[in-house]
Each structure stands twice: as structure tokens, then as C-alpha cells.
Symmetry: C2
Subunit: 331 residues, 2 copies
């Protein structure tokens, strides 16, 4: 079986372009004893992958120049030399950014879809949703009645934060860029949907939360974080999930100018990574599957097709062209 894969050609400085990547066709070896061969049906593109394009120590190892990148994928076993898998099994792996692969069976997991579409396990019921759950419920210690501000609220993580907070009895303020996304925020029940491209973010936030916010779930950083500090109540909790506004310019990203308010307001600002919260995954998948099947959570996906469009899909994350989970359909 042949597979096209996306390799990192050179490390981008600033915003990546197509020129930083190669698409290469490889012949997949037949599986040896203990191995499986998989054809990917879906792969995910996520903002954190930008960090792996930098060299240097981070929580995830850097992608290697000249090698295929990695990321979440779901697919079907097409050949198996492992007793644990048979042809046709639906599996999940970290061998994204390629159409197929041959790998030790220990590196793929069978996927029980709970009756949901398989690609949701790359989004709403997968890593992004689990991130929303861990950040909101554990890191930010959500309580019913809390006013939650979430930036990037139309994104894969943010749209789950917003809906979980609503279902758990919170008031939700969400930001997104553009009319279409703001309309989506209203559809999913966000109480105050703010278009950060229109008018003054801080003023809009002050109007939406005259008594202040209890929780800030940060996907954006920069001016959003600064505005959140400005409107935070005393003892507010900030779950810092990411800062997409700075991913392409990490060296120069300004911290919040009003940082000193952290003292007077006794803010708790905590960064987190979902992989530290694996113990919550089972609980999350169970709860979210139920909510989705009951129609209580809406799942929005933006889908591009074909491995040749994977880099373009990834870049949409930074131009804000996606609403909900950005996915690439491969088969």
C-alpha cells in the first residue's frame, strides 16, 4: 500500500506557509509479526502542533525536519499480524499527517465510538473536548453559578468549554472573530457572544460581566488575557490552555501589562496540558457521548479533504477560518 505523508521541510519562523512542508509518497511495508497496517480515514490539525515545529525543549518533542509529522488520527486496519486486531477494526493512533501506516499493534488503540461518528473522537469526544473538561472542571475548579469567560469560543476546545459550562449551570461569555462565528456562539447557548474584531474587547467584556468573571479559560492570550485580568473578580481562576495569538511569535509575545492585579485580586493563573489529566478521560467520554446523543451539545466541524490539503487546514487555525473542530478527511 502506498501512503502520502506530510513532512516538515524546514522550521518556520513566524507564520508557516506551504513551503515549510513536503508531501511525499512512500511504500508502506507489509506488517511483520505483532504489527498492523492502517488506512487513516481522518486526521486532526491542532494549534499545539505549531509548538512542535520549533526546535528546543517543550512538553511535546519537536517534529524532526525531513520526517513525517505526528498527530491524532482514526482509521481502519487493512492488514494485521497481531492477534489483538483484525482487518476492518476501527482504530485511533498518533500516526496522523499520513494516509496510512504500518506500526506495532501496541501503538494503536481500538476505538469504541459509543454510536457517534468516528471523527468526533478527534474533537468533541477526543483530545480537544477532554482539554475543555479538564481545564474547566479541575484546573479552573468550576462551580455552578460561575461566570466563565472563554476566548476562542468558536474553536474546538472553546466551543466545548462554553457548552459544558452552560450545562453545569454557569453563565458564559465567549469571544470569536466575525459574524458567522458569533452566530454559532449564540446557537450553542453562549450568554454573551463578543466579536473581538468589532469595537473594544475590554469594554464589551465589562458590559457583559458588570460584576466580573469567576473563571477565564484562555485559548488566545495577548489582549484577551489582559482584558480578562481587568474584569476578574477577586479569587478568580484562570486556566491557561494556550495562546494562539502568540504561537507564531513566541519570543515577542507581550505578557499582560496589568499583571500586578494578580496580587490585589488574588488571581490564580494555571497552565495545563490535557495529558496530565488522563484519569478524567473515561468520565468525560461517557458524559459527553450522552450529551451529544441527547442533543444537549452541538458539535461543529470544519472539514477539508485529502492529505494534499492538510497543511492548508492547519493554517486555517491561525487565520481563524475554521469554526469548531478543524479536520481533514483522508478516506
Amino acid at each position: 500500500m502506498k501512503s502520502r505523508e506530510v513532512r516538515l521541510k524546514s522550521r518556520p519562523q513566524g507564520l508557516p506557509t506551504g513551503a515549510h512542508f513536503d508531501i511525499v509518497t512512500v511504500d508502506l511495508p507489509a506488517p511483520k509479526d505483532g504489527e498492523v497496517q492502517v488506512r487513516n480515514s481522518w486526521m486532526t490539525v491542532d494549534p499545539y502542533m505549531r509548538g512542535r515545529m520549533y526546535d528546543g525543549p517543550s512538553y511535546a518533542a519537536p517534529f524532526q525536519v525531513g520526517e513525517a509529522m505526528q498527530g491524532g488520527a482514526v482509521g481502519k486496519v487493512v492488514a494485521s499480524k497481531s492477534p489483538a486486531f483484525k482487518e476492518g477494526d476501527l482504530v485511533q493512533s498518533f500516526f496522523g499527517w499520513r494516509e496510512g501506516f504500518t506500526a506495532p499493534a501496541s501503538l494503536v488503540q481500538k476505538l469504541d465510538t459509543h454510536g457517534l461518528p468516528e471523527q468526533m473522537f478527534l474533537g468533541a469526544v477526543g483530545m480537544p473536548g477532554h482539554t475543555a473538561w479538564a481545564g474547566l472542571m479541575r484546573v479552573a475548579a468550576f462551580k455552578p453559578g460561575d461566570t466563565v469567560f472563554v476566548s476562542g469560543a468558536a474553536g474546538a476546545v472553546g466551543s466545548m468549554v462554553a457548552q459544558i459550562a452552560k450545562l453545569k449551570g454557569g453563565t458564559v461569555i465567549g469571544t470569536a472573530g466575525g459574524k458567522e462565528k458569533v452566530a454559532f456562539l449564540k446557537e450553542i447557548g453562549v450568554d454573551h457572544a463578543i466579536d473581538y474584531k468589532e469595537g473594544n474587547l475590554l469594554q464589551a467584556l465589562q458590559k457583559a460581566a458588570p460584576k466580573g468573571i469567576d473563571i477565564y479559560f484562555d485559548n488566545v492570550g495577548g489582549d484577551h488575557l489582559e482584558a480578562a485580568i481587568a474584569v476578574a473578580k477577586e479569587h478568580a481562576r484562570f486556566a491557561i490552555c494556550g495562546g494562539i495569538s502568540g504561537y507564531n511569535d513566541m519570543a515577542a509575545m507581550a505578557g499582560p501589562r496589568n499583571f500586578l492585579q494578580v496580587v490585589g485580586k488574588r488571581l490564580r493563573i494555571e497552565g495545563f496540558i490535557v495529558s496530565d489529566h488522563g484519569d478524567m478521560l473515561g468520565e468525560y467520554v461517557g458524559q459527553m457521548s450522552e450529551w451529544i446523543k441527547a442533543g444537549k451539545v452541538q458539535v461543529r466541524e470544519t472539514v477539508d479533504e485529502g492529505i494534499e490539503n492538510a497543511v492548508g487546514a492547519f493554517l486555517k487555525l491561525f487565520s481563524g477560518a475554521n469554526t469548531g473542530k478543524m479536520l481533514v478527511k483522508l478516506a
Copy 2:
């Protein structure tokens, strides 16, 4: 009885000068029923008082222009119309910035010195020491074996953080400005004393903590906070006590440029105010009194004399002219 008091004349923008304050002599009224008259022997000047010179909401109400400022003081009762106090009683109050006062007895507290010099209850055994204890032990959740970085380590709070951390089994890195203060840090047992005025702070910190820091106790902000983020271990805890580098220029104080590392390193950054931790005061005073009497903790004080020098003593906090607790002896 006559008393001289320091009043706020106008709100300083930037660094205050003597011109922002008035010294006015007042006649203290004789105490009425339920009141006491006190002659202050010591008053404290603390960095947080700069914040009270700004107008606008904060955790402490702003000082009022044209009125005497407030702050911690110890003194002796000179006249009492309260059954709870008699002449000669040693008391503590928040009526600093003046030589004496007449006030309801409910606003002064008898001071049990545990055999220590009374002024220590404005410093090592008072609010600054209690701040060190609460920030290190509760907010930063100190554990034996932790590597603790404390900025402003020669100051009233910092020198207590350093010594508590050493006595509890930590390794301590401290910064201060100038040779004299660095010598003091070595005297109190700081493992790595860094003069931030000499050479590159980040490099010195990397050399002192090649494996990184577990805790940062921040009294300074600015470049110190940024360097602390750079050398933090994963899951490091930051207790943000203050940011003296920004007190006179709050609006423009830059946040840490490397803030995004908060995510990858899963840092917890928490601001705190000692008054939220009053439940720890008794435990603290007991422990610290023992340590001081046993010679296990050194208490350094910088003392100016006379109410006419109180403003000058306060300004020394910002030029770094004090080592240890800055105090004003009034009688």
C-alpha cells in the same frame, strides 16, 4: 498632647517625593469614655503603601488627600478611659504615620512581645514575616527539598522567606541589589546569592539552579518574574506577593514576555494578600518567636528616627537603601 502626623498632600504619579506629603502638628483630644491615647514608639513603612496612594479600587482603600496616612505602629498607652487598657500598656495599631493618637480602645490591641523587641512585631514577627510564611507554606505549597527562588531577598519579606525555606529543608536562591545586601544574604544562609545589578540575571539564575526552581516567591516582578518563568521546573508554583519594580509605574509595567511557558510547564501563578491568611498568624508568631530566640533566624532592621524622616524612610524602599525591615523610631 501634641502629635505630628504625615498627610498625603497630592497623589504621586511615578516615584513619590517629599513634595507629595505634609507634616502637620495636631492637638490630640483627651480620651473620652471607651477611648485610649497612645504615644507611638515605632511605625512601619511598607511597599504596599505606595498602592494606597493611588486613587481607585484596590484591596486596601486609598489614602485620602489631606488626611494622615495609616499603617502599622506600636506604642504605649498614655491615657485610658477604657477598662481594657491602663497607662503604660504596650499596644499595636494601624495608626502609624503619626507620633500619637486618641482612638476607640477597640481599634488597638495589646501586644505580647514573647520576650522579643517590640518593633519586631512590625517586621519579622509581624505582617511582613506572616506574609512570607503564608506565601511560602500555603500559596506556594513548600515541600522539603524544594528549590526556592526569592526576589528582594534582603527585604523584610524576602529575608524571612529565605530563612524559613532554609529551616524547612529547602535550597534557596535569592536576589538583592549591591554587595552589602548580597553579603547579608550569605549571612542568613541563602545558598545562591545573586546581585541583580551585576551581570545577567537569567544566566546567574540558570547557573544557580541548573535543574530549575520549584517555587518562585515574587517581591519584584518585571525581569525577575520573567527569569523565574524561564528557569521554572514543570509544575512550579509562583507566589506573587508584590512587584516593587512596577509600583511607581503600574500602567506600563510589562508582563513577562515568556508568559506562554506557563502552559508547557504547567505553572501555577497565584497572587495573595496576607490578610486572607489570618488563620495562620498564631502558628507563625509562635514558631518565629522560638526561632529568633534560639538564634535560628536573623532579624535585620534599617532604622530611621523621627516622624520628620518617615517619608524619607518610605522612599528608601524604592531606591533599595534598606536592608531587612525598614522602620521609623518615633519615641
